[in-house]
């Protein structure tokens, strides 16, 4: 019996230290989540402004076209997938990767019909194992990404579209709803959708002059706009990552507590049983002598 007790004690101790770790990770994720949210907030004015200018060009001038606004027949598709570098974030990576795999299986019959851009080690390893065509990848994006961290891959993704290497570009990432909920989302990035909804809200704010010409301005502006959309998706995904991590580590901590209390109960019972047995042995011995 004493040996069983020692085993239980050892188990409790090991769970205790795991719990300490998960608890710490939960708190770190919570702090990082707050910062990531702030950053996503701070990035919003830039994206909104760009959108506003694009919309005002679209509404103010007629008959301008740009390759990035034109829908082409889709022969090949680009997918940009945002995952994390590290695991221990619950279903964060699995959810988005499953969605990508499913979509690809539904839409394409061979690997020549699409290309992948991957951000994050988890996604890269996943697609590499399956032998899917990855054209560009970025890993080790810092917790507080700067525009420069994402620019290379965003630039490539936009440029290949312009060069007609593929005819649409879709974005897969975990959209941040709140700390508990992250929704894997597919978003059409290119060609830029001219849905007309945002032009209504601030329609004739000002008739701008464009220097040197609306076409040139648009030519500069649209790639930037697309890159910015990618950047804000990355920020959103980062916030989701920390949200998912926080939730996962929170429930791990809770499970550890439950296990510890269960084991403590078993331990105390075993101890009580051992004491009882010892007493009855002593009593029996005394009786035999007397």
């Amino acid at each position: 019996m004493a040996k069983g007790m020692r085993d239980i004690k050892r188990q409790i101790k090991s769970i205790q230290s795991t719990k300490q770790i998960t608890k710490a990770m939960e708190m770190v994720a919570a702090a990082k989540l707050r910062r990531a949210e702030e950053q996503a907030q701070a990035a919003r004015p830039y994206a909104d402004k760009l959108k506003e200018v694009v919309a005002s060009i679209a509404s103010g001038t007629k008959g301008i076209t740009h390759p990035m606004l034109v829908k082409r027949p889709v022969k090949k598709t680009g997918y940009l997938v945002i995952t994390s570098d590290r695991g221990l974030a619950g279903g964060y990576n699995a959810n988005v990767l499953r969605m990508v795999t499913q979509t690809i299986r539904e839409r394409h019959r061979s690997n020549d019909e699409f290309v992948l851009f991957v951000i994050g080690r988890k996604g890269r390893d996943y697609f590499r194992r399956r032998g899917l065509p990855i054209v560009a990848e970025v890993t080790e994006v810092p917790d507080a990404p700067t525009f420069a961290d994402v620019k290379t891959i965003a630039y490539k993704a936009v440029k290949y579209f312009e060069e007609e290497q593929y005819d649409e570009l879709n974005l897969f990432y975990n959209q941040f709803v709140n700390a508990l909920t992250q929704v894997p989302t597919e978003k059409r990035l290119l060609p830029l959708e001219d849905d007309g909804t945002d032009t209504h809200t601030h329609a004739p704010t000002a008739a701008y002059e464009f220097e040197p010409s609306p076409e040139v301005v648009l030519e500069h502006l649209l790639p930037k706009y697309a890159e910015t959309l990618i950047f804000s998706a990355v920020l959103d995904a980062k916030a989701s990552e920390f949200g998912a991590k926080m939730t996962a580590m929170g429930s791990a901590t809770k499970n550890a507590s439950d296990m510890i209390s269960g084991l403590t109960l078993t331990y105390n019972r075993a101890r009580q049983a051992a004491i009882t047995q010892e007493i009855s042995e002593i009593v029996a011995g005394a009786n035999a002598q007397g």
Binding site: A43, L50, T146, F147, A206, F210, V217, H220
Partner: protein
């Protein structure tokens, strides 16, 4: 002298927002001075120092590409990055300048690789802009 609101916004944050008297930027078509009441316009910007006047003083900000949008009520600069003089690391900028010059010299000698050449050129521009801004600021 009437003033107007100037905002400098980058993907990471709002760098600057203040009432100013005058802004002078370098557009792709040339230098452009903007006073209050300027006609609404949009133009892409070059990598160059940007001059701002307010409170009777001149201030410089390093703006790396992007756009200026002039509206009736305010002027907005959208740049990929923008740096105030006190945030610039001059030593790093100087090192970057030397590196870029070296790369340009190399690219010229080999007479190929336009991408490398253009990249070096852009980073040279950036470095020079940073150095200028920090000297004047």
């Amino acid at each position: 002298m009437s003033t107007f609101l100037l905002e400098i916004v980058t993907p990471e944050r709002k760098v600057f927002a203040q009432e100013v008297d005058m802004v002078s930027v370098k557009g792709v078509e040339g230098d452009l001075g903007i006073l209050a009441g300027h006609i609404p316009m949009v133009t892409p910007l070059d990598i160059a120092p940007m001059k701002i006047k307010f409170g009777g003083q001149e201030h410089w900000i390093a703006v790396h590409g992007g756009f200026v949008e002039v509206r009736k009520d305010k002027v907005v600069v959208l740049a990929e990055s923008a740096e105030l003089p006190e945030n610039i690391d001059v030593e790093r900028a100087k090192a970057a300048k030397a590196r870029a010059e070296q790369r340009i010299a190399m690219a010229e000698r080999s007479k190929q690789d336009h991408v490398d050449f253009r990249r070096a050129e852009v980073s040279l521009h950036r470095a020079i802009t940073r150095i200028k801004v920090s000297e004047r600021g």
